[in-house]
C-alpha cells in the first residue's frame, strides 16, 4: 500500500498537471461536514429579529465659538434594543408587513443617569397585488429614493425620520428611520415602472426640541404635511434607464432624476438631481421654529428678511469601484444650493454671542441634521470598504465627509467582525476635525467611540 502511494506521488510529481488536479481534488470537503439545511419553512408568517447592544462614549470639544445653550460635558450612552420585522402572507395576492424597534436608552454625564424606553413603529402596511406586477399599499411605509450614498436629493420623505442613531454614517441613517402613513399604487411592466404615493396630514408638526413619549407614533414628524410623489422609470436603451420624480409638499413642486451606468465589470457611476422653488435651509428652519417652538421671538425678523424663494438645485454625482481584492471605493460630490455658503457661516459664527442667539443658531444646525440635509453648500464624500480584511469575516471601512468651503471634515473608521453566524461585533471611532470657525470644527462633539454587538435570530 505504502509503495502504491509512493508510486502515485512520484507519478504526480513527475507530471505537474496531474499534481495540480490532485491538489484541487484534495481541497474538496466531505459532504458530512455540511451543517443542517437552513432553508426557511413554507410558513405563512416569517419573522426576523435581532437584539442590539450599543455603547457610545462622546468627548466634547473644549472651545466652541458659538457655545451650546445647555451643558456640553462628556457623556456615556447605552442602547439596548430589539429590532423585528414580520411578514404575514394573508393570501396569494396580499400580505402584511411590520417593522418595529423597542429600545432602552440610558445616558450619563458621569454624575446623573437618565434612562428612557421607546418604541418606534417603523413600518406597518398592507399590500395587495391584484395582478402579479401591480401593487396597492396602505399603511406606514418607508419610502426611499435616490442612487447617491451620502446625499439623496430625491429622497423626499427622509426628513425628521431618524430613529436612535449614534453614527453619522449615511448608510446607517437609511436603515433606521420611521415610515410615513401613506397610500401607494405601483405598476411594474416590461421596461419600466410607475408609481403614485400620497401621504396625508395627520397631525400638527412636533417641535424638534420635544422628546416624544415612549409609544408616540411620531405622526408630527412623518405626517405633518400633505405630500404627493409621482415616480417613473423606463429602459430607454441598454443600461440607460432614467428615473424621473415629481413631488409636491407644503413648500411647492419639486422635480428630480436618478441615473446609473456601469463601466466594465468593476465600476458604477451615478448621478442624482432635484430642484424646486425653495427658501434657504436656514430660513426654512426659522419658519419651522416659529411654527413649533416657543423660544423664537427674534427669529421673526430673520424670517421676514430671508423668506424669498428661488429655484434651488441639489445634486450628487459619484463613482463606486470594486478592486480584485474585495475593496470597494466610493467618491461622491454633493451640492446643496440651499445650504450654508461661506458668508452664511461667517454670519452664523458672529451671531451666536447672546444666550438667545445661541439657541436659535444651534436650532438651525439641529434642523438641518434631522432634515438629513448637508449643512454646507458643497461637500465631498469618500468611502472605503474592505471585506475579509487581514483575517476572514473582518470588514474594515472608513468614510470622510469633507466640507469644500472650509476643508473641515468628519472622519469615521469602522471595524465589523462576524463572531458566529448569528453574532456580530462592531467598533467605530468618529471624529469632527477642523478650525474653530468651520463646519465640523465647530461641532460640539470632538470624538465619538462606539462599540456594539448584535445577535440575529
Amino acid at each position: 500500500m505504502k509503495w502504491g502511494m509512493a508510486f502515485a506521488m512520484a507519478l504526480a510529481f513527475s507530471n505537474p498537471a496531474a499534481a495540480e488536479d490532485a491538489n484541487e481534488l484534495d481541497r474538496i470537503p466531505s459532504e458530512e461536514q455540511a451543517p443542517q439545511n437552513v432553508a426557511s419553512s413554507a410558513s405563512s408568517i416569517s419573522a426576523n429579529s435581532y437584539i442590539g447592544e450599543e455603547m457610545e462614549s462622546s468627548q466634547p470639544r473644549n472651545t466652541l465659538l458659538v457655545p451650546l445653550p445647555g451643558s456640553n460635558g462628556p457623556e456615556l450612552t447605552n442602547h439596548l434594543f430589539l429590532d423585528s420585522t414580520v411578514d404575514w402572507q394573508l393570501s396569494a395576492a396580499s400580505h402584511f408587513h411590520l417593522g418595529d424597534r423597542f429600545s432602552l436608552a440610558a445616558q450619563s454625564n458621569y454624575r446623573d443617569l437618565d434612562w428612557a424606553a421607546r418604541n418606534d413603529l417603523k413600518e406597518a402596511y398592507f399590500e395587495w397585488s391584484p395582478v402579479s406586477s401591480a401593487f396597492l399599499q396602505l399603511g406606514r411605509i418607508n419610502t426611499k429614493n435616490g442612487v447617491g450614498y451620502a446625499f439623496n436629493p430625491t429622497d423626499f420623505f427622509k426628513g425628521f425620520t431618524s430613529v436612535g442613531l449614534f453614527t453619522a454614517d449615511p448608510s446607517a441613517q437609511k436603515s433606521n428611520r420611521l415610515g410615513a402613513f401613506l397610500i401607494r399604487g405601483q405598476d411594474i411592466f416590461d421596461g419600466g415602472a410607475i408609481s403614485v404615493t400620497y401621504a396625508p396630514t395627520l397631525q400638527a408638526p412636533s417641535p424638534l426640541t420635544q422628546t416624544l413619549g415612549a409609544f408616540n407614533l411620531g405622526l408630527g414628524r412623518t405626517n405633518y404635511q400633505d405630500r404627493l410623489l409621482l415616480k417613473a422609470n423606463y429602459d430607454l436603451w441598454d443600461d440607460f434607464s432614467p428615473e424621473v420624480l415629481i413631488f409636491h409638499d407644503r413648500t411647492g413642486w419639486h422635480g428630480g432624476m436618478n441615473l446609473t451606468r456601469g463601466f466594465g465589470t468593476q465600476a458604477t457611476v451615478y448621478a442624482e438631481w432635484a430642484g424646486g422653488n425653495l427658501r434657504k435651509e436656514a430660513d426654512e428652519a426659522v419658519l419651522f421654529g416659529l411654527e413649533t417652538e416657543p423660544f423664537f421671538p427674534r427669529a421673526l425678523q430673520l424670517a421676514a428678511r430671508n423668506s424669498q424663494r428661488k429655484f434651488q438645485n441639489d445634486a450628487a454625482v459619484g463613482i463606486s469601484y470594486e478592486t480584485d481584492s474585495k475593496v470597494n471605493i466610493i467618491i461622491e460630490y454633493d451640492y446643496h444650493q440651499a445650504g450654508f455658503s461661506p458668508d452664511d457661516w461667517n454670519t452664523w459664527f458672529s451671531s451666536g454671542s447672546t444666550l438667545l442667539d445661541r439657541a436659535e443658531s444651534w436650532y438651525l444646525r439641529k434642523y438641518a441634521s434631522v432634515d438629513q440635509q448637508p449643512m454646507s453648500r458643497q461637500q465631498i464624500f469618500q468611502r472605503l470598504n474592505w471585506d475579509d480584511a487581514i483575517v476572514r469575516d473582518l470588514s474594515l471601512s472608513e468614510f470622510t465627509l469633507i466640507d469644500v468651503g472650509d476643508a473641515s471634515l468628519l472622519l469615521q473608521a469602522q471595524m465589523d467582525y462576524k463572531l458566529t453566524t448569528s453574532l456580530y461585533a462592531n467598533f467605530i471611532v468618529q471624529s469632527n476635525i477642523g478650525a474653530h470657525a468651520s463646519n465640523f470644527g465647530s461641532n460640539p462633539t470632538a470624538v465619538n467611540v462606539i462599540g456594539s454587538v448584535s445577535y440575529y435570530f
Partner: protein, 262 residues
C-alpha cells in the same frame, strides 16, 4: 478474377473514405459541445430553484446560505437573467439581487432601498459564485478543443472529456478565459477553471450529479474552489427545481422588494 479483386478492393477503400469523411462532418464543433453542455446545466429557458450554499473555511463548514433563484433567458442576448432572494441565515433573509447581464441591483430590507452594484462587487461572501452556473458560455465565449483526455471528477471517478479553451468574445463575459472539461458522449460539464484578464486563476468549479427532469437533464451540485483565497470552498446544492413562467416585469429593479418570500 484479378479485375474482380481490384474492384472489390477499390470499393472497400472508397466506402471507407466516405465513412471517414462522413464521420468528420458529423463530429461536433467546440462551440456545439459548449452549447449542448449549456443546455444540460440549464435545460429550461425559465425556472425557479433552491440553491443551498455551504461555505467551508479550511475544510470546516462556516456558513450556509439558502437562496431562491428565478432565472429566465433574455431573448435579446441568449443569457439568463437571475433574481436571487436570500431566505437564510436570519441576518440576510429578505435581501434580493437582480442580475441582468452586467446590470445588477441589490436590495436590502433594512434600508428598504435598492443600490446599483458592479458585477465585481462581492455579495455575502461566496454568493457571487452563482454566476458560474447560470451563464450560457456558448453565447459569450469562443471555444476551441485543446485535447481529449481522462480527468477525475469531484468523486474521483475517471471521465473521458473534451478539454476546451474558452476565450471571452462579448463585453458581458465576466471571465477572460475559461478552461472547460465536458464529458464526451453525455456532454455533462465536469470541471472548469476561470481566469481574470491578468491570467490569474480566480476559481475552479466541479460540476457533480445530474438528475432527469421533465424538461431534460439538470445539474444537482457544484463545488467552487476559491483561488484568490485558497482556504475557501463553496458547495452548492440545487433542489426544488420547477419550470416557471416569470413575467418580464420581475426583472425590473422596482420589483426586488416584491419578490416572493419563499
Amino acid at each position: 478474377m484479378h479485375n474482380k479483386s481490384f474492384f472489390a478492393t477499390f470499393a472497400v477503400a472508397f466506402l471507407s473514405l466516405l465513412a471517414i469523411a462522413n464521420a468528420a462532418t458529423i463530429s461536433p464543433t467546440a462551440q456545439d459541445i459548449v452549447r449542448t453542455s449549456d443546455e444540460i446545466r440549464n435545460p429550461n429557458p425559465h425556472f425557479v430553484l433552491l440553491n443551498t450554499m455551504t461555505e467551508y473555511h479550511k475544510g470546516v463548514a462556516t456558513q450556509q446560505l439558502s437562496l431562491r433563484v428565478h432565472s429566465k433567458i433574455d431573448p435579446a442576448t441568449g443569457q439568463f437573467r437571475n433574481l436571487v432572494k436570500f431566505l437564510a441565515p436570519a441576518k440576510d433573509a429578505g435581501k434580493a439581487l437582480l442580475m441582468n447581464g452586467n446590470i445588477m441591483w441589490f436590495f436590502t430590507p433594512s434600508s428598504g432601498a435598492s443600490i446599483r452594484i458592479s458585477p465585481q462587487q462581492r455579495l455575502l461572501g461566496q454568493a457571487s459564485n452563482g454566476d458560474v452556473l447560470s451563464v450560457n458560455f456558448s453565447k459569450d465565449y469562443n471555444a476551441e478543443i485543446q485535447a481529449e483526455e481522462m480527468i477525475e471528477d469531484s468523486s474521483h471517478k475517471s471521465r473521458h472529456c473534451w478539454h476546451l479553451n474558452l476565450l471571452s468574445a462579448a463585453p458581458a463575459a465576466v471571465y477572460s478565459r475559461i478552461e472547460y472539461w465536458i464529458e464526451t458522449g453525455t456532454y455533462y460539464p465536469v470541471k472548469a477553471r476561470f481566469y481574470a484578464a491578468s491570467g490569474r486563476i480566480l476559481k475552479i468549479a466541479f460540476y457533480e450529479g445530474y438528475d432527469k427532469r421533465k424538461s431534460g437533464t439538470g445539474l444537482v451540485q457544484a463545488i467552487i474552489l476559491d483561488e484568490v483565497d485558497s482556504s475557501l470552498v463553496t458547495r452548492m446544492i440545487f433542489s426544488d427545481f420547477q419550470p416557471a413562467e416569470i413575467p418580464e416585469a420581475w426583472f425590473q429593479r422596482e420589483y426586488l422588494p416584491h419578490l416572493p418570500r419563499q
